[in-house]
Amino acid sequence: MSKILLIEDDALFVKMYQKKFAHEGMELVAAYDGAEGVEKTKSDKPHVIILDLMLPKMSGSEVLKKIKDDPQTNSIPVIVLTNLSTSADEVNKCIELGVKETFLKTNVTPDQIVETVKKYAQ
């Protein structure tokens, strides 16, 4: 069974995706801030990571850098959720760090996310 890590601070958002992925027969692990996200990436070894760039404490690109700097976790595909107010700079940093795809959070549907996750989950 594919395991997905969602790094996202909004509990309702997490709940929605937990239902969606359960329905698709996948397991969704949640992390509510960047530090927890980095930790769970190591401990849970997810197949795919969904990372919201707007996080408390640590910025999305910082979280991504930590994941990519660690040889144990750097091959895990990461999908990024952006906001219209996310700076171009932050998005570019993430692209340079090798994210697979970026989605505008308010525009993307759960179906699109699931489809994309399936594409990268081996």
């Binding site: 909004d10 309702l12 929605m16 239902k19 969606k20 171009a88 308010t106 525009n107």
Partner: protein
């Protein structure tokens, strides 16, 4: 960003006014030489006012950022959950429920668009829009890509959307991909709103140092007296026939105009005739043109000013 970032109350503009240095607006009396002390005081007061303005500006930027995050997140959750129920993820639903939820979905999408447009506008006015310029945008390819994403919606309205291949191969333009997509989507969805059935055509053509992109519809056309207002904030043409409400904020074309102008181009109504249709066009500088280089410099220097400002 989380909600802990509050707006400092001391940055209230009314408060700023009461604290604004007095006497600076009044010029010294004619023939009276200001004393060294007065100079010193003026400098102190100006420094203070400058600092206060900077704080106020920062508070405003933070407000926009918080508002955009906090307003959009719940809407994304509402939209996501409804789409899941509609897809049957939470169990079978009957036709009536589906009908009701579809209306809710349409309203939520309208709301998301409205909030996005309001926030885009406030960001434009605050001068905090980031442009991520790319030198290799092919307008015909971009149009093709966007149209394929709009086709399914258009077909339900008996509208055909097509992109005419350019007569000669187009040179690449310099633009922000996302913002240009937004402008083009805005023009096409506007055309769809005012076209009951017919064709929406997108044409691209090189004109000197620019590439022009035009969207032509076979819709109701825009009355002469309303044409001047098109690109103004909150303006929307009255509906041609009752019942075909033009849902929208009236900000789409205003935002489009600002985006295009900031990228060195122009946007205009090429032609509009009642009952025949309208053509909207916009231009963008070719990447190798001097205009493109000038714009790239302008945006770069604005960005560095902002960076300095934020580091303070």
């Amino acid at each position: 960003m989380d909600s802990k970032v509050g707006l400092p109350v001391k940055d209230d503009p009314a408060d700023l006014q009461t604290q604004a240095p007095k006497g600076l607006i009044t010029p010294p009396l004619e023939g009276v030489k200001p004393t060294a002390e007065a100079y010193q005081r003026a400098i102190r007061e100006l420094t203070h006012a400058n600092l206060r303005l900077r704080q106020l500006d920062k508070a405003k930027d933070e407000f926009i950022s918080i508002a955009s995050h906090e307003l959009r997140n719940p809407m994304a959750i509402i939209k996501g959950n409804i789409s899941m129920v509609l897809a049957g993820d939470a169990g079978e639903i009957n036709v009536e429920t589906k009908d009701v939820l579809t209306d809710v979905m349409i309203a939520v999408e309208r709301q998301i668009r409205l909030v996005n447009e309001l926030l885009d506008t406030s960001m434009i006015e605050a001068g905090v829009i980031n442009f991520n310029l790319h030198p290799s945008i092919q307008m015909d390819q971009l149009a093709q890509l966007l149209v394929s994403s709009l086709k399914s919606v258009a077909s339900t309205q008996s509208i055909e959307i097509k992109v005419d291949p350019p007569e000669k191969p187009l040179p690449a333009v310099q633009a922000d991909h996302d913002k240009i997509s937004q402008v083009l989507i805005n023009l096409v969805t506007n055309a769809m709103k005012f076209t009951k059935k017919g064709i929406i055509e997108i044409q691209t053509e090189q004109k000197g140092d620019y590439v022009e992109t035009c969207v032509t519809d076979t819709g109701s056309g825009i009355p002469k007296d309303q044409q001047d207002l098109l690109f103004k904030k909150f303006s929307k043409p009255s509906s041609p026939t009752p019942g075909t409400i033009s849902a929208g904020s009236g900000l789409g074309l205003y935002i489009s105009k600002k985006y295009i102008e900031k990228q060195g181009g122009d946007i205009w109504l090429e032609r509009s005739e009642a009952g025949v249709g309208s053509t909207f066009c916009f231009s963008l500088p070719i990447s190798t043109s001097s205009r493109a280089k000038q714009i790239a410099e302008e945006i770069k220097s604005l960005q560095s000013i902002k960076d300095v400002h934020f580091k303070r």
